[in-house]
């Protein structure tokens, strides 16, 4: 189901579905009370309380020995987290951690949830509590490095990333994200050669790591190695064509190289992508604290469509379907998804969306009419006729019932 939803994609050529409101209109959201809690108020575990749990080699066995209420809350927390319902995830986690002080998986997920909410100090506190009860599991806590970095403590983040990498189990290998984080710390702390060498290792492990190329470009630019910087920025653009940052670096490098015309072109593309990125950041921030706001998700769809970013448009269209309020017919949203994907030229996504429309709205003539047009465009005569017939049948039935 999730895979199907994620395969959806977007582009509002036919205008927004019914019920849409302008994204500028402030939503009447209130801040959930759970956001007033902080992890330093949690009860602490007794020394060694979780040693046996952590020592267990069979996770199922370890969880089997727990209070079922805790297990249920953790399951709920995980479900909320996966659905980006972070305040609800926090509520379930606090419930679990009140019942089971210091429960390591609870503290770990708490830290990660706070990181998603960009509450870096609370993330740091949660993960440090985790390390108090699970000191041998430092390799799991690269998010603590991310939090320290985001708080501007680059020295602390560097030390923590190094600890994470040193403690990583051999079978898991080096974490590219910990390596990337370590590289950025060295960049910020003024050791560009070390940073470049770590980024090279990230690229070795993940040749398609766009961000590694972007930061390679930035460091090389700062070092006035302009030709190398330009090559790295171009590679980052190939890997991540809708990210503004590689375009920004390209522009700056080209200006410094005196290639003004090309720089101006890069500037234009950067500005286009940057405007969208700014709006996206603002909307995503609002959704973190109050997930599932249909108008905001719709606006995100429109933004991704405007720059032709099929991947992220698909994701948001899937979210749009899930966030549909009751007063908006499902068929309207699902047709909007089909129209949008089709307008973006995303044949694969449109097909998945068409199948979902047929499966979800079998009693709606409007759905069948849209499917009829879809199959006509695909020159799939068999399905075109089948859908047309179904639409006709439903329309006739509707007329009969209204005349009767």
């Amino acid at each position: 189901m999730i895979a199907l939803l994620l395969a959806f994609a977007a582009a509002p050529q036919q205008g927004p579905p019914p019920g849409a409101i302008p994204a500028e209109a402030p939503a009447p959201e209130e801040r959930p009370a759970i956001l007033l809690r902080t992890p330093d108020t949690l009860p602490r575990a007794a020394d060694g309380a979780w040693e046996a749990f952590l020592a267990s080699e069979d996770p199922n066995e370890a969880f089997a020995g727990l209070d079922p209420e805790i297990v249920a809350r953790m399951a709920a927390a995980e479900e909320h987290y996966r659905a980006a319902r972070y305040p609800s995830a926090l509520q379930a986690l606090y419930d679990a951690l009140e019942r089971a002080p210091g429960f390591p998986p609870g503290l770990m997920l708490l830290g990660t949830t706070y990181f998603r909410l960009r509450r870096y100090e609370d993330c740091r506190e949660s993960l440090q509590q985790f390390l108090e009860v699970a000191p041998g599991d430092v390799w799991r806590t690269q998010a603590l490095g991310h939090a320290l970095y985001s708080l501007g403590d680059y020295g602390g983040a560097r030390d923590h990333y190094e600890a994470v990498l040193a403690a990583s189990p051999e079978e898991l290998g080096e974490s590219p994200e910990a390596l990337r984080g370590l590289a950025l710390c060295h960049m910020r702390l003024g050791d560009p050669e070390r940073a470049l060498s770590l980024l090279a290792r990230v690229i070795e492990l993940r040749p398609g790591h766009a961000e590694a190329f972007t930061f390679r470009a930035r460091i090389l630019y700062d070092e006035d190695r302009l030709d190398e910087a330009l090559a790295a920025a171009e590679r980052a653009r190939e890997l991540s064509p809708y990210e503004p940052q590689p375009w920004f670096l390209t522009m700056r490098i080209l200006y410094d190289l005196g290639r003004d015309d090309e720089a101006a072109e890069a500037e234009q593309r950067w500005q286009e992508l940057d405007r969208v990125a700014q709006d996206v950041r603002a909307l995503e921030m609002r959704l973190r604290f109050r997930p599932g706001q249909y108008p905001l998700i719709l606006r995100l769809c429109e933004l991704f469509v405007s720059i032709g970013d099929v991947g992220r448009a698909r994701n948001q269209l899937a979210q749009l379907v899930l966030a549909r309020p009751d007063d908006i017919p499902e068929v309207a949203v699902r047709i909007f998804v089909v129209d949008t994907l089709n307008a973006m030229g995303d044949a694969e996504g449109t097909h998945v969306a068409a199948l979902a429309l047929e499966e979800s709205c079998p009693d709606d003539a409007e759905a069948w009419r849209r499917l009829e047009r879809y199959y006509a465009l695909r020159r799939d005569r068999v399905n075109q006729v089948r859908c047309g017939a179904e639409a006709a049948r439903l329309e006739a039935a509707s007329e009969d019932s209204s005349s009767g």
Binding site: L35, D224, Y255, A282
Partner: protein, 557 residues
Amino acid sequence: MHLSALLLSLAQGDGAPPPLFDEVGAAVLAGATMTCGSTAKDFILEVNGGGLLVADFDADGDEDLFLVDGSTLDRFRAGEPGLPPRLHLNGGDGTFAPAGEAWEVAPGRWGMGGAVGDVDGDGRPDVAITEWGPDRLLRNTGSGFEEITEGSGLRGRRWGTSAAFLDYDLDGALDLAVVNYLSFRLDEMMEKEQAGGCKWKGVKVMCGPEGLTPVHDLLYRGKGDGTFEDVSAAAGFRPTAAGYGLGVTTMDYDVDGDTDLYVTNDSTANHLWENRGDGKLAEVGMRRGVAHDPNGKEQAGMGIAVGDVNADGVEDLFVTNFSGENNALYVSRRASFRDRGDVAGVGGHSMRYLGWGASMQDFDLDGQLDLAVLNGHVYPQADLPGMDTAYAQPDFLYRNVGAGRFDAEPLSTAGDTVARACAAADFDGDGWPDLAVVELDGAVRLLHNRGAALLPEGEERHWLAVRLRGRGANTAGLGARVTVQGGGGERASEIRTAGGFQAAVPATAYFGLGGAARAERVVVRWPSGVEQVVEDVAADRVLVLEEPAAQAEEEQR
């Protein structure tokens, strides 16, 4: 025991080095407070605080304080004017008293900041005031202020924040740049509030600046007689998109002998205005790398400090930003600037703080430029859980430890406050630069530099201050470049009064000389192009230099 001595001994008692600055405002500047709206801060108009303009207004040889005060929405709704600007005169020892009746100034609508410069060439510092309302001009008669706004040609009526006098066209008469913030209409803001308000980190806060309309800045060409002509459009002082202007400074960033302008904009790209030398300006912030952070993100530019931190002969820029953003140190490099704030130690450290006023001076007189940064949030809601910041914040001195790096330490004994504008000047004449600071809705603070008292026994630090007397209407030599060789190094500084965010500073170049009791050489490149050299200058004094006649003029005599 004197309060400052008591605090010093207490601070030394815990093993930490005591802050360089001692907050002595209550003793030396009694009763000086600022008002900017209500403490709830429901509207963006209420968060900037007032302005600080420092100059020797009464020509008695010391630096006085002109306070630009604000207002409240209750006063505005009742049709009452704002609180009047006030001059406090320096008694010569760093203690201040309200100036007499002749210096009183009528209130405007809601004061913000301003600029200081001699607009009529009579040798006395005059004042431009920015307001949420009409820009204003005050002529210094020598014994008081005379309002000359009407007929002056100033026609800005929006929300001016900061301003700067400069001689951009090198005609000898001072010109004026006024930085505007945004279009603030109370009815529009009330509508936004009624529609649900605005959010920051999921919390309802005042609205803006995003969603409000930015207003273009203004450039006035001075005629040398206290009147001006708006040349914003003619000079090309119009960016493609207006920014939410908050700070301004003057600098010759490309060292071509004319004065450029740098404007910080809130939540929009900062602007660097390159003076083309033909009466036109071109916006090159993006191209020179001072418009955004290194990743291309717009920041909330507030305060500005200028100085040549890497001693390469070209001035660098320090910009304060919002919490969650790094303060930037744009260091000049060949074709463009690079933000070296993180590497220098002033970037990441600032992440939890919202910076406003900033000053780059050699505060410890060791021969290297340090940085003072004043902090305080705009949202009282910053104190809620999970914000990773706070409303009242500590201020920091970033002490230059060499090799392009700075160490952070508490700036003063003042503790955490909601600070705004600041201006550096040697108020007590001891050679150690002090600071005046606006605290939002609080007392004006005066931070006394007690560096001399903190020196290890037997160690000496020396200084030199340079003031200029120009031959034309630019009597303070704004835009001149002063280079001092001595103490084992060479340092340069421009003469400016622009103080970044809502502040003006004395037209004086301060130099720390470390242990050197003499400067080997002082070189002044005047805006006229004349170069003046003075050899073997004794330290620990204010050196006042008169502009020599240009060579051709000399020959004619």
